[in-house]
Symmetry: C2
Subunit: 342 residues, 2 copies
């Protein structure tokens, strides 16, 4: 684009050409302050290093790929927020793709990211995904992959998760301790691990508290586990089992659908029916009654997953041994109005 | 990574090597079905073209950059959804950065995207941005830039917007037609064009309907125009002017803060005070009372902005003249419960 040379930047800043060159390539032995100064001066002098040429030499693109099931989703936008923050801090850019909960799309996207030679990939699986060879292939090809939230236990790589089973166990126990006895569960579909784990946590809590498990009180949402699922299945549940006195829902969105139906049907929440969500979306604080839920730390999950991925990318580059980690971030119960009984 | 050659892909599919090569480089004269087949076969044969090498030859990265003020924001995640969909359809990848409403960060990010040699940049400005030289510099450097939503009128490039002034005029007129007379406005800060335009639309509607404009009824939110702004300033407004009978808020988030305060203070919405939002976030349908608002078509804005950007990238590449467009997408009033009077 122009002829300004590295030497001009080095002269202007009173540092060595090597330092300028290393800074522009994102080498870790150049401090972040120096790196910033070099980028500022490069901008001032209108210098554009050809980073694609650099990446050919260093075999790095300083870019990571992210595949999430959906963008317009509070949890995943929080995770992406955490990923982008951490990547920016470490000098990486983030390419984002959304699988729209489709296995076929996810499979093509992981392929595309490899063709684009990203340095690593962060993924949360689509609800449809029950074959993991596209992920193991990527790992076998030498690409670092870290799974988060919706993971596959069978894939050998680092994972950042919450303990879904424990969180669901805690939620159900909380409802039992509030005096609710006939507790339904609105679960996700059969495949995703978090859907299975939340169901198992619910079931175990009932059993440990001497409440017989009744499979008829388990309603399965469709793949999207959305607002309409909660609304429609709450209606069906009240027709089938009007003795239900609480529902533990797989997501806040489903829980909010349930509350909307119950409000319309003039069934009092929490007095007649308690409702417990999962995620702690912002909207759980603005509906009436405010929703009791499990706080799922999206931004922290994103930051941690990106941090581990970048560590592994560097370890591979430096020919060090990578030890996969399973990081489990803590969840907490956020008690609000939807489970308070008089 | 391995030695599989283009010829293996060509032989397997019974097409020419040229077609395979063109498909892998994303040339427009290869149909999308063929392109897909080539990518699938490349994956099956575990072939990885070095796209960075290709981009050095073609001077393209098939990547676009997006700078948005915030990720965890329904409107911007909808826009990003539209951008990613359109980019995917046209064979481009999307690098996303968030300015967090900071001018300094935005300036560095547009620089970084140029250093990374993205083919074009989509931007919505931070609320702080009142100098546009970083954008005009990028354009002068030959990078295609399309602004959306929070734009700068002074920057000469294509823009995808809504007519904020008209939408605000329509919202205020709607309140007046419902019989509300003492209408406050919770506006954004002084700099962003959409904040200015929504304020001007509100003011004009009052004047056109013979209601004197009272500057004391205009409350300015902080840079983030969030829930707390609505809540806190609604409290202040009720102390200052208990004769106010409606509020037109700059965003749904502010409007929901207002409703939350009024609900807590047992002030009836819509009977005592009507509340009108802006954006049509999902959560405006789940609060009580449900929020009347302006539908701002986020996904359509993202799709259109990405489509125009990619068109311009191709035009520049083919040395054709680029004619900048100002595209204004229509908004509609979504009437719900927060403005219905008995």
């Amino acid at each position: 684009m122009n002829d300004t040379k590295l030497i001009d930047i080095a002269t202007a800043l009173g540092i060595s050409i090597t330092t300028v060159s290393k800074a522009l390539k994102g080498y870790p032995d150049v401090g972040s302050k120096t790196r910033e100064k070099v980028f500022e001066m490069a901008a001032t002098l209108n210098y554009r290093p050809n980073l694609n040429a650099i990446s050919l030499r260093t075999n790095e693109t300083k870019t990571i790929g992210v595949i999430i099931p959906a963008m317009v989703h509070h949890f995943f936008s929080s995770v992406l927020n955490g990923i982008i923050e951490e990547a920016e801090r470490r000098g990486y850019l983030v390419i984002t793709l959304q699988s729209s909960e489709k296995y076929e799309l996810e499979r093509k996207q992981i392929e595309l990211l490899q063709i684009k030679r990203v340095d690593g990939i962060l993924m949360s699986l689509s609800n449809e995904t029950d074959d993991f060879s596209h992920i193991t292939n990527a790992i076998n090809n030498g690409i670092s992959v870290v799974l988060f939230d919706k993971i596959a236990k069978l894939v050998n790589c680092s994972k950042v998760i919450i303990n879904d089973r424990k969180a669901a166990y805690d939620a159900t126990t909380f409802l039992i301790n509030k005096g609710y006895k006939r507790i339904a569960h609105f679960r996700g579909s059969l495949v995703p691990q978090n859907s299975i784990d939340r169901f198992l946590g619910y079931k175990k809590a009932l059993e440990d508290n001497g409440i017989p498990f009744d499979s008829r009180l388990v309603y399965m949402c469709n793949h999207n586990t959305d607002f309409e699922d909660g609304y429609d299945k709450a209606k069906q549940m009240m027709e089938d089992h009007n003795d239900v006195d609480a529902v533990f829902a797989i997501t806040d969105l489903v829980a909010i659908g349930i509350i909307n139906y119950l409000n319309e049907a003039k069934i009092k929440v929490p007095d007649q029916i308690g409702v417990f969500g999962f995620s702690n979306w912002f909207m759980s604080t603005v509906i009436s009654p405010k929703l009791t839920t499990i706080d799922q730390p999206g931004t922290a999950i994103g930051q941690r997953a990106a941090s581990i991925l970048i560590d592994e990318i560097i370890q591979i580059k430096e020919h060090k041994t990578v030890t996969y980690q399973i990081v489990e971030l803590p969840t907490t119960i956020i008690e609000r109005e939807s489970t308070k009984r008089n």
